[in-house]
């Protein structure tokens, strides 16, 4: 049984249909990449999975249960956390407070302490900047806060929306290495990326989105080798 299943999921913004019949699944333990051009509907898919955008059709099934109508805050309790597009770092909170927001719904103090250790291990920079205010962090540092914060929920499914956005190349490498590491520690990851090369080479499988539809799917290697994808997303003629 897949950890996450989207069945013919549709989402509208007013009269505009952003997603049409999206069907995909993410198995426990996988990294699945979602790639596509600007406006293809990647962020909308993430929002719908997290529950901050209602469906206009189809369903979201998590761990065997239909959560299409479940309130967004309760989906966090079920085990879905997200590092959103644009990072969403709370500007007036310190790094520590931001991370504490990640475990807002949790009560297991001992495990929370472990997760703080883990996040500070993954991002030593955050350990140095615990009391810096979010709004004054650099873009890359904010990205670390956003990912670390999502991890503080100890999710079963981690949604990452463009974790490499606006980062320097060596930073991008580092972020993807960390995503791999998180996955190897047992967290399932659904990854949205513009950076198709990186995203597909790190992922077990991938889906290609075009104007709100899934147009291709396969293993990371298959998609990387696909000529039309090479041309459209990898900048290879």
């Amino acid at each position: 049984m897949a950890l996450l299943e989207l069945n013919k999921m549709c989402v509208h913004y007013g009269r505009i249909q952003a997603l049409s019949d999206i069907t995909l699944h993410v198995e426990e333990g996988e990294i699945v990449s979602l790639i596509g051009a600007n406006g293809a509907g990647k962020t909308t898919t993430m929002r719908a999975v997290s529950g901050i955008r209602p469906l206009s059709g189809g369903s979201v099934v998590f761990d065997g249960q239909d959560i299409s109508k479940l309130r967004a805050d309760l989906r966090v309790v079920r085990g879905i956390s997200q590092s959103p597009e644009g990072r969403g770092v709370f500007p007036g909170m310190t790094v520590l407070e931001n991370l504490e927001m990640g475990c807002y719904t949790r009560k297991d103090r001992a495990a929370i302490a472990e997760d703080f250790e883990r996040v500070f291990d993954l991002f030593p920079r955050l350990a140095e900047r615990k009391s810096q205010v979010g709004g004054t962090m650099s873009g890359g540092e904010q990205q670390m806060v956003a990912i670390g914060r999502a991890l503080m929920a100890r999710p079963r499914l981690l949604l990452l929306d463009e974790p490499s956005m606006g980062l320097a190349p060596q930073f991008i490498q580092q972020i993807f290495r960390i995503v791999k590491e998180i996955n190897e520690q047992g967290t399932t990851v659904l990854l949205v990326e513009q950076n198709a090369q990186q995203a597909l080479s790190r992922a077990h499988r991938g889906y290609v989105l075009e104007t709100g539809r899934v147009v291709k799917t396969g293993t990371g290697a298959e998609l990387l080798a696909d000529p039309s994808i090479k041309e459209a997303y990898l900048g290879v003629a």
Binding site: S50, G51, I52, R71, A72, D73, L74, V76, V77, S81, Q82, P84, G88, F90, P91, G92, M93, T94, E97, E100, M101, G102, Y104, T105, V133, G135, R149, A153
Partner: protein, 329 residues
């Protein structure tokens, strides 16, 4: 020359201002604590919903009526101050506080449910919220008018004002001291709650980024309810302190001017900023007293609003700026 130079329309009575400076300061701080407590309700709701809850002044007067009827039920009679032992006074006070805080807190939450939540569900534009807030304010006011009439309730006096000590010759009464200390205490507790507790962090998260807050598992609706509750409870406390200082002030529209002043105080300090509400409240209380003795009683309210406009001209975000939403205190 047709007319003699008449009394000029504005007179500066510097002598009186200097004479009364310290007593004005003391009185202003005591009365300003009430502004500060009410201002917190405006600021919290604004921080979380970007809504100016104009009906907050009626939440306050609802608490005042509640406390008043509690006094009546306890057997207090209009006329001279009741002769009560110190323990009785403390007990009565605590009871009044409890009644007023519960009544104001509950009515704030009910107001939110009945007036604002349905609009939120339908994604109503900001203007609709504003009109609803003004409407709710009038409705509650008129309910008191219809049921209690236009005249103030006869004054009930629980504590006789007596001098405790003097500051530079200005007398400080037991009531003033009590109100100032208790209000300060309540505001510190509220501030710590918002800045240190887990729930408080949820409130700040919603104020700073509601969508991301939801992604963290914060229930926005519950946070909104909580802010109305806190604002209401503090307005209830303010109502008791008001009753102690102005026993004859329980009247259907008694919240109106006070509400506007408290709102002014919130903007003055920086709306959305808890400590700004405290600073703004105390500052406004003091400055309008200075204005009154310098220029005359009819200038009291004008001074308050001129102060607001002048400060906003130089610091559009208020003295301390917006903090619940942006920078840390």
């Amino acid at each position: 020359m047709l007319a003699q130079a008449e009394d000029s329309w504005i007179d500066f009575n510097v002598g009186l201002f200097l004479d009364q400076f310290w007593s004005n300061t003391v009185d202003g701080l005591a009365y300003g604590s009430i502004y500060a407590l009410i201002a917190l309700g405006y600021t919290l709701v604004y921080g979380v919903l970007r809504l100016i809850n104009f009906a907050h002044s009626e939440i306050f007067i609802t608490g005042a009526f509640g406390a008043y009827f509690a006094m009546e039920a306890l057997g207090l009679k209009p006329g001279p101050t009741a002769r009560l032992g110190i323990l009785e006074i403390i007990g009565f006070l605590l009871l009044m506080m409890a009644v007023a805080m519960i009544i104001s807190g509950v009515s704030a939450v009910v107001l939110e449910r009945v007036a604002y939540r349905p609009l939120r569900k339908r994604n109503a534009p900001t203007l609709v919220f504003l009109i609803t807030a003004v409407g709710a304010s009038f409705v509650i006011q008129q309910l008191f008018f219809v049921s209690r009439g236009a005249n103030p309730e006869p004054a009930l006096r629980l504590i006789r004002p007596t001098e405790v000590f003097t500051v530079f010759g200005a007398r400080v009464t037991n009531i003033q001291l009590l109100v100032f200390v208790a209000a300060l205490l309540l505001l510190v507790v509220a501030d710590q709650f918002i800045n240190r507790s887990r729930l408080g962090r949820g409130v700040r998260a919603v104020a700073q980024d509601p969508v991301t807050a939801t992604l963290m598992g914060v229930n926005r609706e519950r946070v909104i309810m909580l802010t109305f509750l806190i604002g209401g409870v503090l307005a209830g406390a303010a109502a008791v302190f008001y009753l102690l200082q102005i026993p004859q002030g329980v009247v259907y529209n008694g919240g109106f001017l006070l509400g506007i002043k408290a709102f002014t105080a919130a903007v003055l300090g920086g709306i959305g900023n808890l400590r700004g509400a405290l600073l703004g409240g105390l500052l406004l209380g003091v400055v309008e007293n200075y204005g009154q003795s310098l220029l005359g009683g009819e200038w009291r309210d004008i001074v308050a609003f001129v102060l607001l406009i002048v400060i906003l001209m130089f610091r559009p975000t208020g003295i301390l700026g917006e903090s619940l939403g942006k920078a840390r205190v």
